[in-house]
Amino acid sequence: MSESPYQDDRGNNDRSITKSGGGTAQPVKHGHSSPAPGTPFLIGEAMTGGYGKGPDILHCCTIAVEPGEIAVIVGPNGAGKSTAMKAMFGMLDVRSGRVMLDGEDITSLSPQQRVVKGMGFVPQTHNIFTSLTVEENLEMGAFIRRDDFRETMAQIYDLFPILKEKRLQPAGELSGGQRQQVAVGRALMTKPKVLMLDEPTAGVSPIVMDELFDRIIEVARTGIPILMVEQNARQALEIADKAYVLVQGANAHTGTGKELLADPEVRRSFLGG
């Protein structure tokens, strides 16, 4: 890790999500965006980069999401799926390539600035405030908003009825699937232009997983494009409008979910025949 003699040993060890500089990744420092018209809604274009001074993990990797789509990133372990998503969110600095959102080049913005620009991000772990109630979690999600966010909160309660029922309970007391719903709800409170989910079904049971996928489809139906990293390749491809198979940090296959499910090579390599 870091050579700093004062190094911290607490909290979410993935320090990169807050650009503190104490962790492994080198997040983007505050910068300015510039217009980049005529590109897809959200695109990480030809991204090359890795953690700290280490070797490149991404090799000229391109991921794009259009409005109204669910895009998934699948691939074998260590393929750089989460890394690709983190690069698009600014949690690690790409060495070449650029990231564009809604016609703006946001490559030099920090993760927090990207949230303000309309990116909603749900980390894989430590993605809720466990000691705060469900409702307070949602309120904290809306912290950057100064307007009345009750309407957004009501929409989220419609999407996730269980959260309304448990809104006064500490979020840490909920089940794994419910906690993921809180995490997604928290990210939706900023009314993001795009929602990014890092393995939303990690560590939940198959039944809960199906329910979570249903909920994610419902979120997509409200018009928010979704970019998702998934371990469960088959289910993910079934709901995907666009899918990226990454192998060793590079694009291996790209297509609609159905195309990739039908592709014999993808089936043989990743779906077990």
């Binding site: 999500i17 503190s20 104490g22 927090q112 980390p123 405030f129 705060l132 904290m140």
Partner: protein
């Protein structure tokens, strides 16, 4: 009648003093627990922060008294208290800017910050002594009693009397208001919730757009208010002496840890637990037992379990037992 006399005696010499002392410890422990929960280190300078706030309050009180200002039956120090809080707040913000900020930016381990706070403690200790001296200072004025022993005896007709000193009543009322205001702030306001969110998951809080510098500033200001209030209440109830406040660090930390450090409810419960344990163990209970036990069975000795000089041993013992068997404290606190 025997039972009631015993009860009144116990209330007069144990329950009421312990309630007041417990409330003072509780407010002190709340300050310690807030620093631990949000800034994530044990602030050893807290006792001397209390001493500094009290010292400023005493000086301002002296000026007010010299000007002929008075609150009637209430101590004048209550008028000077806000000035003490503001001065302490400025001192803590200055200390943070000068010292803690550097270590925070380095992402220093909590143990390094503890040692840093130890250094801050010695500096504040010296500062307070240079400012006000090392003497014992009584600064309570106004009415001495809310209810005297004679009034109580005349009113009830019991043999034993119950006195409630003004400072004890003020301590309990002020403590109740302070705690209610703090909990309202933490649970109902946007800033308070953002402080709890920051304490819970720093990274996610930053991601949600919560400004860490603002959280730190507000925390120090609240800690300054809590420390000054606790210090002034203790000083009014007993007396002010810089060294005594330094020693208060032990029961205050014991209270915070027993209740579960980082948990405000725990700090309050811990404060009262430590206070009751300390007062009960060091007070001679002979008279109570004589009242309560059947005739002839009353104890011969004083039934003072521990000499008053050893009162800190009580905090130490409770601290050791809790850390050995339930390191997270009685309420769900953070692990040390």
């Amino acid at each position: 009648m025997e039972f009631l006399n015993g009860l009144v005696f116990l209330t007069n010499f144990v329950v009421v003093p312990a309630l007041a002392y417990g409330a003072q410890l509780a407010i002190g422990a709340l300050g310690v627990t807030l620093v631990y929960a949000i800034l994530r280190f044990s602030n050893f300078a807290h006792g001397d922060t209390m001493a500094f706030g009290t010292a400023v309050t005493i000086k301002v009180t002296a000026v007010l008294v010299a000007l002929g200002v008075s609150l009637g039956p209430l101590p004048t120090a209550l008028l000077a208290l806000p000035v003490g809080i503001i001065a302490t707040g400025l001192l803590l913000l200055g200390t943070d800017w000068l010292v803690y900020k550097f270590y925070r930016e380095q992402k220093a381990k909590p143990v390094i910050l503890v040692i840093v706070s130890l250094g801050v403690m010695f500096v504040m200790n010296g500062l307070t002594r240079v400012f006000i001296g090392v003497r014992d200072i009584q600064f309570a004025d106004g009415a001495r009693f809310v209810m005297t022993v004679r009034q109580f005896k005349d009113w009830t007709g019991l043999d034993e009397g119950l006195a409630i000193r003004t400072t004890q009543a003020i301590t309990l009322v002020t403590a109740a208001i302070t705690v209610a205001a703090l909990f309202w702030f933490l649970n109902k306001t946007r800033t308070g919730k953002s402080m709890r969110a920051f304490s819970d998951n720093e990274d996610l809080a930053l991601l949600s757009g919560i400004d860490p510098d603002r959280v730190v500033r507000v925390t120090w200001l609240i800690v300054a208010a809590l420390a000054t209030i606790a210090g002034v209440l203790y000083g009014l109830d007993k007396s002010f002496k810089a060294f005594t406040y330094f020693q208060l660090l032990l029961p205050i930390f014991a209270a915070a840890i027993v209740g579960g450090i980082g948990n405000p409810v725990g700090a309050i419960a811990g404060g009262f637990l430590i206070a009751f344990a300390e007062v009960t163990v060091t007070y001679p209970l002979k008279k109570v037992l004589t009242y309560w036990l059947p005739d002839g069975m009353g104890p011969d000795g004083l039934v003072q379990l521990l000499s008053g000089d050893y009162k800190f041993a009580v905090s130490f013992m409770i601290l050791l037992i809790v850390l050995l068997f339930k390191p997270t404290g009685l309420f769900k606190g953070q692990n040390i």
